[in-house]
Amino acid sequence: MRDEADIRQRLGLEPGTPPLVALRGIGKIFPGVIANADVDFEVLPGEIHALLGENGAGKSTLMNVLTGIYQPDSGEILVGGYAQSFAAPQDAIAAGIGMVHQHFKLVQAFTVAENVHLGWGDTPARISAADLEARTAALAATLNLAVKPGAVVADLSTGEQQRVEILRVLSRQARVLILDEPTAVLTPAEAQELFVALRGFVAQGNAVIFISHKLDEVLEIAGRITILRQGRKVATEWAEDCTERSLAQLMVGRDIVLSDLRGRPDGVAGPGAPVLRLEGVGLKGLLTGITLEVRAGEILGVAGVAGNGQRELCQVMTGLARPTEGRVLLEGVDLSTAGPGKVAAVGVGHIPEDRLASGVAPALSITDNAVLREYRAPPVSRGPWFLPRAALALAQQIAGVAEVAVPDFAMPVRNLSGGNQQRLVARREMRIARKVLVAAYPSRGLDVGAINTMMRYFTELRDQGVAVVLVSEELEELLNLSDRIAVLFHGRIMGVVEGAEADLDEIGLMMGGQSRNSQNGDSQNGAAA
């Protein structure tokens, strides 16, 4: 891997062949977040190079830099061996770099031919529909992509739409094709068709950058794999040297510095009686047979690759979704159909996964947002009346505890930094979380200081005897905090391990879909010993 010549040899290239594209020392900083730091990345002719990493690892930022959407704060972009700077996406396209996004950028009402030619400088100013379709058909034939030029995009299947999108990118003479999670929308058969097309494309001396967090398909399609974690490049490996397990370890971080927060201060007892209990909970096939207990004064970590049912699990625990099977019990009371208001009222707080979409109303004032959980009762409201003065007092109190300096409580909450928003939301939820706090990705997008504050909040709650469910993609965070860790895969619990005895390899395997000790995930309580 270290040897440049060796790489080229293995790819069947002349020694000294320049990479089609190379990134050197790329850094990109957003306010409070380091999105990329010192990333080296290169793509050689003829290879399919996978870019692997968890959500938030910096894959999208890196590709946005490569396609000219962002300008890097440091580092340089080399195209064909020469440094180049992309001021706009058009520059990247001109340099032969094209990207197919997860969400297609096609005009649904237009035909395939129209979409392919839309906004393309080579399109003749005046052309008949028939000519447009003929050009498209010829183009598709040379690129070996089966599309129907005359069909309206809205009538096509997702796989066909993706081919149109790829054709659109390739028609601009792209030599480097970037695909963002391309198989997420495809059936397995369609995915195989895509792989065939990609192999054909790189065989002509082009290259593909394949972004994914699905380990199995990355191993199948890619020649080399670059892994990003927390904005930095961890490694670039030959696919044949990797296993799913080794990749998982690289993704989640093998050199985890343990800072054990599981210890209780003197006089605080360990986990007590079960508070929240899920019995065989299922949700429209997204969750299956989830049986789980959370005890008072315990932090239960939920690990898993994002998109394996974490969102749905939080929803059923907080009343936002009604389980289609099984029951959710809080201290023996069935809350399966109670709805989010009732669940919150009985003492379940929830730090939602997507704060701006559901945790706050970004355009409304800090006061309005701070009282979202307690406006129903005195002192914020009396009878049918809402008392703005009492609301302000409560907001000030929450901001005080959260240590957020607010110049003006009437200002929209979106004016606060992400970290401060999250602190306010967390403190707001902690006030109502008398029994349970469900925290989904609470540290996502936060800097180290804010993450530490979050962790402190959770141990504080735990020590008060609250049951805390911590959903996270940061294994390090889970290992530091959790008394037990449950691992989700495809909506099932693969196993529950004691935090103190957690083995990273084992968790990595379960995240990849192997149940614990080959046992059924449902029997996790017994397995926890």
Partner: protein, 349 residues
């Protein structure tokens, strides 16, 4: 040194107000420049408008009469905006409110003290009924109320035309394309200004209080700003959406009732006189705040009234419409510009 524009996430209040004033002044200056170029004397015209509008009881009464329907439709649209619904159909609901109220007045015998409240209820219910289908379609099928409410306007307008020139046509033959004079009228409040005006102002105050100081108002605010957050907080978003949209329709319908029974006295085609569409402007200028509706309706009424005065001075209605459009355009630009501030930045390197 280099000047840059920086966009702030929200406009500072002082800037926002200043931008509004600047927009108004600019719009009027632009209109004045056009008028001057066309050979009119803008200052004389402006003085004439102000004198005629504010200089006499007659002018003030006229203003009050014009203001009344604008407050109702402005409130109707503003209320919808509070929960993120665009009621483009206030025009139609206004027509149906007038239609229902006229129906009660023409065909239900009874004493005035009973008929007037009954007509108010009929007008409001008619307006609410007219927005019911768009409301349910939005609430349960996520069909944009923008289109559905708009389309129903034409149905309402033609329905009123039809009954006023057909089945309900004045049998006396004295009126040509209207119903008979309604036997019941909204009593006069001040000169020709009827009680519909103080009722409208009271409704605006009431709504302002309810939105600021009630739990319902808070829940509607959250639901309108971010339905996801509202659901997360256990707020019944759909129920509030339905309630608020029906209220919106009812306000427009009540406006129609006041217009037919207070101002016009007969049901006739075109009774809405574009008040529903003007209400959209009123609500947008007011940023959906009920008290703001009072102010922007006043502004709109002065402009429309000024338009009538200008017409007797030889200008056409289109000129006036162009001025209102300019004010809205400049206000929108001003609102956006209020988000920016100019900063000086040292050139890099």
């Amino acid at each position: 040194m280099n000047l840059h524009l920086q966009r702030l996430p929200s406009a500072r209040p002082g800037m926002a107000f200043g931008a509004r004033v600047a927009a108004l002044v600019l719009a009027l200056l632009t209109a004045a420049a056009v008028l001057a170029a066309a050979g009119f004397a803008p200052l004389d015209l402006a003085a004439q408008v102000l004198r005629s509008t504010f200089g006499s009881r007659f002018g003030l009464e006229d203003l009050g009469l014009l203001l009344t329907p604008l407050i109702y439709t402005g409130l109707a649209v503003a209320v919808g905006l509070r929960i993120g619904a665009w009621n483009i159909g206030a025009e139609g609901q206004f027509n149906i409110g007038a239609f229902c109220a006229a129906g009660v007045a023409l065909f239900v015998p009874g004493p005035v003290w009973l008929l007037l409240p009954l007509m108010m209820v009929a007008g409001a219910m008619g307006g609410a009924l007219w927005i019911l289908v768009p409301t349910l379609a939005r609430a349960y099928a996520d069909v944009s109320e923008l289109i559905t409410t708009l389309l129903l306007n034409f149905v309402a307008l033609l329905l009123v035309y039809f009954v006023a020139t057909g089945p309900w046509l004045d049998p006396s033959g004295h009126a040509l394309a209207t119903t008979a004079r309604l036997p019941v009228a909204v009593p006069e409040f001040w000169g020709i200004v009827h009680w519909g005006f103080p009722v409208a102002v009271a409704l605006a105050l009431l709504l302002a209080v309810v939105f600021a100081f009630s739990r319902w108002g808070y829940e509607v605010r959250i639901s309108g700003s971010n339905p996801g957050a509202a659901r997360y907080a256990g707020i019944p978003v759909t129920r509030h959406l339905i309630g608020v949209m029906l209220l919106s329709g009812a306000l427009a319908g009540l406006g129609g009732m006041m217009e037919v029974a207070g101002t016009v006295g007969r049901l006739q085609g075109g009774i809405s006189n574009n008040y529903g569409y003007l209400g959209i402007m009123v609500a947008v200028l007011a940023r959906a705040a009920p008290l703001g509706v009072l102010a922007s309706a006043l502004l709109m009424a002065v402009i429309l009234n000024g338009g009538i005065i200008l017409q007797t001075q030889g200008l056409t209605t289109n000129t006036v419409l162009a001025v209102t459009g300019l004010i809205l355009l400049f206000s929108a630009i001003g609102d956006e510009l209020a988000h920016y501030r100019v900063i000086r930045r040292q050139e890099k390197g």
